[in-house]
């Protein structure tokens, strides 16, 4: 199934129904690295079931933004509410949010000393206190879903990059998260492997998962996203539905960016 087939078979993302329930709300959030102001006055509301693609030049703060949502980075001002829980420095709140929000990284961050199956069952067993057998069944279910059940007993070091990223997605899904964050999930992959990871993400989107995805895969953005956010210099410069965003960008900075990444 190629991406174009997929798009043809489904209604355009903008028409997909998105609920009114708020999944993430970010109000007036600011963040500094030392004296460097990385995120400035970020306001963003994500509704349940939304699929948001965040793009922008490197250093624009897009990764930092989604890392703030599960408190991998601390924000210094403003308010972040995830699934009704306000993110504060209270460790209990942070652990609760992290167990509800799945995250995939550019470099997968699988645990190399554990098998694929153990990678997937670790958090359910220790955080959710799921019985081992049940956790393994869930893990196999999601490994099936990302199409690598036969690799369950191997170690991450024995898998290709694309397979590792799919395992990372399965590992997050095993916690049955309500929101998934993707931080440049395909940037470290070969072109052939990018597709298998994107296909997995598309499938996830079709099932209605709330997704925030930092990526430069514009084809993916067009096909899956119902909103594209463009960031530059720590600010949200423009956001729109994908068709509008790509065809009629409003700000000059966005036009320049799009001309550069779509120009080849």
């Amino acid at each position: 199934m190629t991406m174009t087939d997929n798009a043809a078979a489904n209604p355009s993302p903008a028409q997909m129904k998105v609920s009114d329930e708020v999944a993430i709300s970010i109000e007036n959030m600011n963040k500094w690295y030392g004296t460097f102001h990385v995120l400035r006055d970020i306001d963003l509301t994500v509704y349940r079931g939304e699929r948001i693609v965040i793009c922008g030049p490197s250093g624009s703060g897009k990764s930092t933004l989604i890392r703030c949502i599960n408190a991998l980075e601390e924000h210094q001002a403003g308010k972040i509410t995830v699934d009704g829980t306000v993110l504060s420095s209270d460790l209990k709140n942070i652990d609760k949010i992290r167990s509800e929000v799945g995250m995939c990284f550019q470099h997968f961050n699988l645990f190399p000393h554990l098998t694929i199956l153990e990678n997937c069952t670790l958090a359910p067993i220790w955080v959710r206190k799921t019985p081992k057998k049940e956790a393994e069944e869930t893990a196999m279910h999601f490994l099936n879903k990302v199409k690598i059940p036969e690799q369950a007993d191997k170690y991450p070091g024995q898998l290709s990059g694309g397979q590792q990223q799919r395992v990372a997605i399965a590992r997050s899904l095993c916690m049955q998260p309500r929101i998934m964050l993707f931080d440049e999930p395909t940037s470290a992959l070969d072109p052939e492997m990018i597709k298998e990871v994107l296909d997995t993400m598309i499938e996830l989107a079709e099932e209605g998962m709330t997704m925030l995805c930092v990526t430069h895969e514009m084809g993916f953005a067009r096909q899956v996203a119902n909103r594209v956010i463009f960031m530059d210099q720590g600010q949200i410069v423009e956001q729109n539905e994908p068709e509008e965003f790509f065809l009629h960008p409003k700000s000059d900075r966005t036009k320049l960016f799009l001309s550069q990444i779509l120009g080849h």
């Binding site: 470099h107 961050n109 645990f111 000393h113 670790l122 220790w126 955080v127």
Partner: protein, 432 residues
């Protein structure tokens, strides 16, 4: 270049060239010797020089062993028997074997006790060292071993180690009951309960000193290689967990914890072990309340453990620093708390990276246990330098005795080294 390509025929390979064996001259012993020993005039020269060197060493060592005397009552008789044949006087080892192993004060009719403890040691550490080959319940034996070994080696009533064990068990249960509510409260409860059990139990065991008792042997009476092994095993097994805690503490965000760990590590590392041992032997007594009789071996164990743990902490810190930040983030993003992510994700990997360094410290520590001979404890080297070489019977038999000491230490240290390399291969998970 490009011209010739432009005219070449388009080409598609549709068959695979079959594998074939290498030429005969390029395999086997001949090939190996040609390429490794005689690959040029210079290497040929080096090979011949090395053969000559090995021959010279063997021509001394072989007669030393072959003409060695194993039965004689003293060095003079030894020399008579040898009559200038250049053999070694190994009779000293046969004569003083038990002193070399147990020291000269340990009651000889009780030698079976430390020997049994030594044999049990292997059963106790096997499930720890080879965790995949033994069932998990065998770790109970490992946990029981310190108390059994104490009972066997030091003797006295069985109540003393039993009370100590009970204190740990009771403390653990108190901890486990409270830990769900608060970790700090649980730790405090555990310590309090353990101390209460130890205090009450102390009266009981003091009241019945003869209950199921072996003949008690005081710490001053320990000696020989047994003392090295006691110090080595106890200090290594205590300094590893302490070193892990120090390494984690040094990375802590809490300034007080971090400060204590940094000061401890830097101070202990900056002081010679000998100094610490003298402190343990002499100075510590001034600081303790008068009348307290703090066992000398315990004092030495504390000092060596602190010394080794400071080194191990720095080795492990290196391992922690070598882990990519993504591992911490991966663990955090799944909602694991600090203790879980350390125990399940970070430490298994950091410790694996640190194995060579930890083994380095452990081997060094084991050999450093011979330093206690300087504070007049009669370990293996202390026995050789003191009672044996000083006696009129064996005055002057250096090579044989020190050679034996070297051999005993080498066997243990080489064993540790081989184990660690095996363990590293076991833990290797990439490209298998």
């Amino acid at each position: 270049m490009s011209d010739s390509h432009a005219q070449s025929v388009a080409f598609v390979r549709d068959t695979v060239i079959p594998e074939s064996p290498p030429p005969a001259l390029e395999t086997g012993v001949v090939k190996w010797m040609r390429s490794n020993l005689f690959s040029g005039w210079f290497n040929t020269l080096l090979t011949l020089a090395a053969i000559w060197f090995v021959f010279m060493v063997l021509s001394v060592v072989v007669p030393w062993f072959a003409n060695g005397v194993w039965e004689a009552s003293d060095i003079r008789q030894c020399r008579e028997i040898m009559a200038g044949s250049g053999g070694g006087c190994f009779a000293v080892i046969a004569d003083r074997w038990q002193q070399l192993l147990f020291g000269f004060k340990y009651p000889s009719e009780e030698y079976w006790r430390p020997t049994l403890a030594f044999v049990l040691l292997f059963i106790a550490i096997a499930p720890l060292l080879f965790s995949k080959m033994f069932p998990r319940w065998m770790l109970v034996l490992t946990a029981l071993y310190p108390f059994v070994a104490y009972y066997l080696i030091w003797g006295g009533t069985i109540l003393a180690p039993l009370v100590a064990l009970l204190g740990f068990v009771a403390g653990y249960f108190a901890y486990a009951r409270v830990v769900r509510r608060s970790f700090a409260g649980a730790a405090a409860a555990g310590v309090v309960v353990a101390v209460v059990v130890w205090t009450l139990g102390g009266y009981v065991s003091a009241a019945a000193p003869g209950f199921m008792a072996f003949e008690p042997v005081a710490s001053r009476e320990m000696g020989g290689f047994m003392l090295n092994l006691i110090l080595g095993v106890v200090c290594v097994s205590l300094s590893l967990p302490l070193g892990i805690l120090l390494a984690l503490g040094r990375q802590s965000n809490l300034p007080v914890v971090k400060g204590i760990c940094v000061v401890f590590i830097e101070f202990i590392r900056g002081v010679p072990l000998i100094t610490l041992l003298f402190v343990a032997n002499v100075v510590l007594a001034y600081f303790l309340p008068p009348g307290t009789n703090f066992d000398l071996i315990v004092r030495v164990i504390i000092m060596i453990t602190m010394f080794a743990s400071a080194y191990i902490a720095e080795v492990i810190r290196g391992g922690l620093a070598a882990l990519p930040k993504g591992q911490y983030e991966g663990a955090e993003s799944l909602g694991l708390d600090y203790a879980q992510s350390m125990r399940l994700i970070i430490l298994p990997q950091a410790l694996k990276i640190s194995i060579p360094g930890i083994v380095n410290v452990a081997v060094g520590l084991f050999k450093d246990t011979t330093l206690v001979s300087i504070i007049s404890m009669f370990d293996l080297v202390g026995m050789i330098r003191g009672p044996i070489l000083a006696s009129t019977d064996w005055n002057g038999v250096y090579w044989e005795l020190l050679g034996l000491a070297a051999l005993l230490f080498f066997v243990v240290c080489y064993g540790i080294s081989q184990y660690s390399q095996w363990l590293e291969r076991q833990l290797q998970t990439d490209h298998r």
